[in-house]
């Protein structure tokens, strides 16, 4: 069974994003970029499935600028077998991403597609569900546990108030939540080895997908700022404040 894992190049999660002065977006010039953290978890899960003998091949896909090749190489260094890089300098919305992934899935016929539940730049949380819809296949979103058994996969999901478990017929689409696993670091020998692993270069046109955005970003602004309030000296003062607010009798 093949496992397909899409990976996105995004601002590193440790970097505080800065809104551009002209309000057109977030400044990404000279900012450290990394693989989307939820996608790292997806890559890790796929590699573990191969290590358990459940999966035979892990294929990563990245859709983005030429530099997204680095993101592919990171996934290959973690242990993925080969990569497909779909290059475009346009902003590709989740629906267009899902259409490209659908075309790739049609070619590769994976048993599982494992995606991060959302990217930490646009925070859309859509691509996995959209891909499942386009493929007409079941979806297990926000996964904290994935167990493959024959031709089905049991997915434990993080939902409001607790956990929920669903059983899906494969091929199926899984999106990862934070606690599914802890991704490994690539070792130096594996980083070297990753450089010679196969990477296919494609464009959205190769898959016949129009990536023209459907949503226009009118402006991007800083969120309203909270300002620091007062400090109280002791518990009595805090109690008095709470009482004056009507929080306590």
């Amino acid at each position: 069974m093949k496992v397909l894992v899409p990976v996105k190049r995004v601002i590193d999660y440790n970097v505080k994003p800065r809104v551009k002065m002209d309000g057109t977006g977030v400044d990404l010039a000279n900012v450290k970029m990394s693989m989307n953290p939820f996608d790292e978890i997806a890559v890790e899960e796929a590699i573990r499935l191969r290590e358990k003998g459940v999966a035979t091949e892990v294929i990563v896909v990245s859709i983005g600028p030429a530099k997204a090749q680095e993101t592919c190489r990171t996934a290959l260094a973690m242990g993925a077998d080969r990569a497909i890089l779909v290059t475009t300098d346009d902003t590709v919305e989740p629906l267009a991403v899902a259409k490209i992934l659908k075309a790739i899935a049609d070619e590769e016929q994976p048993g599982l597609v494992i995606l991060g539940k959302q990217a930490i730049d646009d925070d859309s949380n859509q691509t996995g569900q959209m891909l499942a819809a386009l493929m007409g296949r079941p979806q297990g979103t926000f996964a904290s546990k994935v167990e493959v058994d024959g031709d089905s996969v049991t997915v434990t999901r993080e939902v409001d108030g607790g956990l929920e478990t669903v059983k899906l017929a494969m091929p199926a689409i899984v999106t990862t939540d934070l606690r599914l696993n802890e991704p490994r670091y690539a070792s130096l020998p594996n980083i070297m080895k990753a450089k010679s692993k196969p990477l296919a270069n494609k464009t959205p046109a190769d898959y016949g997908v129009d990536t023209t955005p459907r949503i226009e970003t009118v402006k991007v602004a800083e969120p309203p700022k909270r300002t620091a309030g007062i400090k109280v000296a002791d518990v009595d003062e805090l109690v008095a404040k709470l009482k004056s607010m009507g929080v306590a009798a």
């Binding site: 601002i11 505080k16 994003p17 809104v19 977030v26 989740p94 629906l95 930490i120 646009d122 925070d123 949380n125 859509q126 691509t127 996995g128 569900q129 959209m130 499942a132 819809a133 386009l134 079941p138 979103t141 926000f142 049991t154 999901r157 993080e158 939902v159 409001d160 108030g161 607790g162 956990l163 929920e164 478990t165 669903v166 059983k167 899906l168 199926a172 934070l178 606690r179 459907r214 949503i215 970003t217 009118v218 402006k219 991007v220 602004a221 969120p223 909270r226 620091a228 309030g229 007062i230 400090k231 109280v232 002791d234 518990v235 009595d236 805090l238 109690v239 404040k241 709470l242 929080v247």
Partner: protein, 309 residues
């Protein structure tokens, strides 16, 4: 514009997030609702009473019981034949269903809106709430998820909607519900609690959560939350987590105990009306957003506070 709003319910009560979504929908036009599941007669009846509601579509079928998107999405897509917008609260269910609906309609979804700006435009948070984007859709139909904290709740009474049964039955192609472990608590649910007491890594262990945080919460009738650090350390279950990757809350009062105030936590609670922080580190970032701060040892302060309230 005719809108269709997903009613989030637990077969007994309609969840507050639905009411906020009704408010968002009413800014776009006529509000219709969809209630799905078996034995949802009472829920549908309650839905007709929500202020400003027109038709309440009812899909009474056990296939929709666990809100499997494989079954629910096609049913909604059929209803979208005579609606212009689909709105779902940005709950686990809403986030699971809406993009599936959008893709089947071949439209781009707008996720987690904070406001309706008119003329097809909305605001939404990006980069974990570090930036707010104003976006405009030119799609034939709108598919939107709504961040409940951004909107007032519509009144549960005062409406006079009419019930209309959804014909046909769905099928959960390839997906089946196995089970759920939903934590039961006497305390108010985080997303609708008026007061929240949250603990961080400084609590040190699960035991201290029970003996320090919970008595204060119970005294105030508050919900109990936690930072991601406290959840990852195993002090409390995952569903306690407040933050960008957990629950987004906006209570009247948010009391952060032993929470440093990482960006990811602030993203989940910075819309609270009043933030109170108790932390021994006076330079902790939480104090930069707190309305009232108290510097000191939480193990002394919190029990004293609980005693004096």
């Amino acid at each position: 514009m005719k809108t269709l709003v997903w009613v989030e319910h637990d077969t007994g009560a309609i969840k507050d997030a639905t009411l906020a979504t009704v408010t968002a929908a009413s800014k776009l036009g006529e509000v219709h609702l969809i209630v799905a599941g078996s034995n949802v007669g009472d829920v549908a009846e309650a839905a007709t009473k929500i202020a400003g509601v027109g038709k309440v579509h009812v899909a009474d079928d056990a296939v929709y019981d666990h809100v499997l998107p494989e079954a629910v999405a096609p049913m909604i897509v059929a209803l979208m034949g005579h609606h212009d917008a689909f709105l779902a609260p940005a709950t686990a269910n809403g986030k699971n269903i809406a993009p599936r609906v959008a893709a089947l309609l071949d439209v781009m979804q707008i996720s987690e809106i904070l406001s309706v700006e008119g003329d097809g435009s909305f605001t939404r948070p990006i980069y974990a709430g570090n930036a707010i984007a104003t976006v405009k859709s030119s799609e034939a139909k709108l598919v939107v998820t709504v961040r409940a904290t951004g909107f007032e709740k519509a009144a549960r009474e005062g409406g006079s909607g009419t019930i209309e049964a959804v014909s046909g039955t769905g099928e959960a192609n390839g997906s089946s519900f196995v089970g759920a472990e939903i934590s039961k608590s006497e305390r108010p649910e985080l997303t609708s609690a008026k007061i929240i007491v949250s603990g961080g890594r400084a609590l040190q262990n699960s035991e201290n959560f029970h003996t320090v945080i919970e008595p204060l919460a119970d005294k105030l009738g508050a919900g109990v939350g936690a930072s991601r650090a406290a959840v990852d350390a195993g002090y409390v279950p995952n569903d306690y987590q407040v933050g960008q990757t957990g629950k987004i809350v906006a209570p009247e009062v948010y009391i952060a105990v032993g929470i440093s105030g990482a960006i990811q936590h602030l993203a989940g609670m910075k819309d609270s009306k009043t933030i109170i922080a108790i932390n021994k580190d006076e330079d902790a970032p939480i104090f930069q957003v707190a309305d009232i701060g108290l510097v000191g040892d939480l193990f002394k302060i919190v029990p004293e506070l609980t005693g004096k309230l």
